[in-house]
Point group: D2
Chain length 351, copies 4
Amino acid sequence: MIEQLYSKSFASDNHAGAHPAVLEAVSSANTGDAPAYGDDRWTATLAEQIHAEFGDQATSLVVLNGTGANMVALSLMLERRYHAIICPETAHIATHETGASERVLGVKLVTVPTPAGKLVPADVTARLGGRGNISEVQPRVVSISEVTELGTCYTPDEIAALAETAHDNGMLLHMDGARIANAAAFLGCSLRALTTDAGVDVVSFGASKNGALVGEAVVVLRPELAEAGAYLRRQTLQLASKMRFVSVQLSALLTDELWRRNAVHANAMARRLADGVADLPGLGIQWPVESNAVFASLPTEAISELQARYLFHTWDAPRGIVRWMTAFDTSPDDVDIFVNDIHQTLKRLAG
Amino acid sequence: MIEQLYSKSFASDNHAGAHPAVLEAVSSANTGDAPAYGDDRWTATLAEQIHAEFGDQATSLVVLNGTGANMVALSLMLERRYHAIICPETAHIATHETGASERVLGVKLVTVPTPAGKLVPADVTARLGGRGNISEVQPRVVSISEVTELGTCYTPDEIAALAETAHDNGMLLHMDGARIANAAAFLGCSLRALTTDAGVDVVSFGASKNGALVGEAVVVLRPELAEAGAYLRRQTLQLASKMRFVSVQLSALLTDELWRRNAVHANAMARRLADGVADLPGLGIQWPVESNAVFASLPTEAISELQARYLFHTWDAPRGIVRWMTAFDTSPDDVDIFVNDIHQTLKRLAG
Amino acid sequence: MIEQLYSKSFASDNHAGAHPAVLEAVSSANTGDAPAYGDDRWTATLAEQIHAEFGDQATSLVVLNGTGANMVALSLMLERRYHAIICPETAHIATHETGASERVLGVKLVTVPTPAGKLVPADVTARLGGRGNISEVQPRVVSISEVTELGTCYTPDEIAALAETAHDNGMLLHMDGARIANAAAFLGCSLRALTTDAGVDVVSFGASKNGALVGEAVVVLRPELAEAGAYLRRQTLQLASKMRFVSVQLSALLTDELWRRNAVHANAMARRLADGVADLPGLGIQWPVESNAVFASLPTEAISELQARYLFHTWDAPRGIVRWMTAFDTSPDDVDIFVNDIHQTLKRLAG
Amino acid sequence: MIEQLYSKSFASDNHAGAHPAVLEAVSSANTGDAPAYGDDRWTATLAEQIHAEFGDQATSLVVLNGTGANMVALSLMLERRYHAIICPETAHIATHETGASERVLGVKLVTVPTPAGKLVPADVTARLGGRGNISEVQPRVVSISEVTELGTCYTPDEIAALAETAHDNGMLLHMDGARIANAAAFLGCSLRALTTDAGVDVVSFGASKNGALVGEAVVVLRPELAEAGAYLRRQTLQLASKMRFVSVQLSALLTDELWRRNAVHANAMARRLADGVADLPGLGIQWPVESNAVFASLPTEAISELQARYLFHTWDAPRGIVRWMTAFDTSPDDVDIFVNDIHQTLKRLAG
């Protein structure tokens, strides 16, 4: 454990605390009894907000964490034991969920190398050669992350093209939206434009990285998939007994587009950070900065020096790439101090 | 959804809200950045409290819900794919987790009929006949619930006898302690007396039913089992990113034995309820009232009438048995009003 | 390993060798090349025989062993991850497959105590109380064994009643027919009468215990379930590459009702054995002798003495029950020698 | 189904029938009773032959098919639920087992692109960056195929280097030896040189493709892994009841090195085929011909024409690559007729 953080963390948007409005919402829900397991009025309110945001056919399942959201979402979509998922090889489900897809769902991930974390329709069709071959798994779900794990965003048109390709081939489209708020903020569009209107079938709708304490939701946009949801959430260890305290957090973020304000700010801080270091010799920005993440390549010595003072992750050690993330509560000063230190460090090492 | 609760719910201790001290603790932890995934000072404090309560060899894994606690706990204990679990047929893992044991862990539960939800050593030894038979699963874990699902408690000696039987036969003892606080309160003993000192190997340590918002812990008392814990928690969908907000809740309950005060009160309310209806003709108390649950048999009509006014579950419809639960925030008035109504209802129906 | 068998084994019908006609059939299929994985003419012939025996809508999937047949059969029937199977607690899938149902399928078995290994419709309906409760698994399949593990048989009417109950409740009926031949022989009916005509949906059709070398089949009687079969057989490790050599064995047994002749003989030998010991003091026949198994209770000393000279299994050690099985190649002399020895042994010990 | 094969099949070595010596061996084992499940003298004899071939510490588990062998072998080696397997992306376990690894074992395969189906030590070490990261699976097994799926062979030194890398990093080495006989034949070495002496821990030892009817074996070379084998084989649906009939086939192949004679012949036929087409314009041999497979690129029209007359698989449709396999019973004439036809076809199309 790092006993004390010297500065704002740039390691992850989940190093941030909760947004004050979220905390207030939780307190406000503590009004004595309420039915458990979602049969409460806060969860009912959230359902209405989800309808307003994603459309009337949307069903929402409040869950406990991001991996849980993905596993519940995918379990709804995988009808057969031999169905498989096509996803980028950088997908969170493929890289950072300790094999939950394989272990908990028993599913094979057919992973696709991509230039910047984003699938294109041809990636999907190129993996359908084994259709009807009983020795091969049968792709049933295309899973994309919006924002991607590399900080890039799919446009609504790009998503729609993938949805069309999936549907044309008897498949479904899943979106890991752990940072969907940041995408909608970057693209200046609604959540609906990125999901329902683009043909997404099920969304893992993220809240933790946007200012919640604990909790996410699965939003099912294809009604026939929703029926099994309550059973699968329970079985997949994602049912909160006192659900109101999770629902009310999502509700707070959905009220007056708090989610967007948080995301716009976080994105702006990443932009400020990227701009601040853009011209530095020896430092290269990887992938377009389209959300609240900046991926940069630096000399190894600079990384070590900076990590002694700031929390951030090395993304790809052999290639010297680090990830810097901002959050709803990152301040311009936090960024400027960090940018300044990066400048000094690189200059000193170059010297 | 029942829009409005007419009265205190007797349906479950998770109908209650959060204890105010828990909410305050959550707020107090919202102090800006903290490392994610448990590398924070609140989780460190909790670890110390767990040491104080369960002994220095105890490792604690904060998790998200009760089924999750059980699955993480059991996954630590099941070494081989053909290992099995012996448990009462009333065990929560066997009846109310939508088959998570079989689906998520892939394990067979060898279930034992019991008179009041409690295993005895002979139940275990009677199920070891298939030892060494390659066509049979091999029991590796004995799982008991303290408090049981029928509201009864194991004494420390009873637990120790089960632990000894388990260990003598190369097995481990798991305790589903969703309501362990109520057991310690009823028995007037420490948590340690029921667990570490009795030879329990891993405990699912409950918090939600005792006044938390969301979250539980797995307490590993056999150090060699702990190593895999962090991986298995992540894979089993139980890792909170902003863990501090869960840890601090457990911390609040462990501070100055708030957990015990909550449990003592809830138990007293169940006692008051049981005593209030004890002599009623047509009503029979099932199983000893040793925690915050009262199981009673009533005429079907009385059940229907009362359920129109109060929230509580029918436990066994064919036998006319209902479950009434109290919580840390059930008041004597809540109980007295309910008792009075039960009296009136039964009298009217008898009339 | 018992180096040498002193006499005919009464331990299991799989101690017998292969019927000569089966061996000849295997040799006859070794005619150079044939497509692999079932695309051969022997498998096509078998498919026709299966149609003739079970009806035109029957699809057959050749598999490798009995547990494999059960797992493939059940995997076709379990649509949802939270579906469960109702079966007798003596079911082979519940007791002697090392937890394959739980581990390979991830399914909970809801086991029912029965007097003689046979379910009745009320056993099924009594286990539907949790329908719609998201905390409980949802029964989807009723699984019965014909012959049962206790050597008893369901009549066609009894099977039809279970099928009707299953279907009326949105469930399917599976039959573990490892010894279905012995049931048809005992009841003097066709295979079809026990399956298709009685409403069974999927059958594990046994061959090994009836004279085959290796191999069984899954017979799917509900066409909409068949589509996934080829994928699931492959994934469930039950696809034979040179399938002709398995198919041709089943074909041989289905030719001129060799299966029935083998079963009639084995049953007659069990009857002869049971009759031969029926009046012996100290020996009790358990359960009606309706196939090729005799379950008898004997004094422990007698069991030990006899097991020194004959191969047979102790079924229930605490209750002193043993199982004696006959096979297609058990001779009347084999039985008479054994019967005589049982007489002598019990007399000597009684003396 | 192709009703009739016009010629020798070049589709797969499992299109061939059984070697006559294998069939004779099966007949010779049909001598009345024998204990089931491997407690018979033929299985004991096989165990001795396996000792002679692989060394005294070798334990053999007879199984039913190749995927079954791989699943049993890997299940022995994967101690933890978060352990993973590193293998080439062309591995049979990754491509042609309908996701059995993920579904039956619940394990993630970390797949590596390779030039010719062969891993090198650096491929392994490059995938260990996530060691100790609880969000990532932890590689525990390296799995290689000998012969590879592309027909190439690892030398004993190459295998030893991989074993050393695996062991140095706390991992184990699995060999999918479905065609290990062909490798030993090509390399002119013993089975032991490729396995025990090279440091392999567990081998899937193939028999079907080498002339058996049905059946393979798992050979465990690290004794501490063997203990769980019998349970895992049963649970993984790979236990033959009348095991003698499978064991005796492997025994026949191991007697007087019949396996090697079969493999030497099959390899020679592939060599003859490759040599026969080597200089043809428009045809390119892919990957070195080191076993009984020839991979060739041809114009699409040529493929179509030839497939109308000969059975063989298109391996990579977009790149126009086909696979031609020979078997123990492929004759020089079979090859010459095929070669001649390929010549004529390409000439005609070029014309």
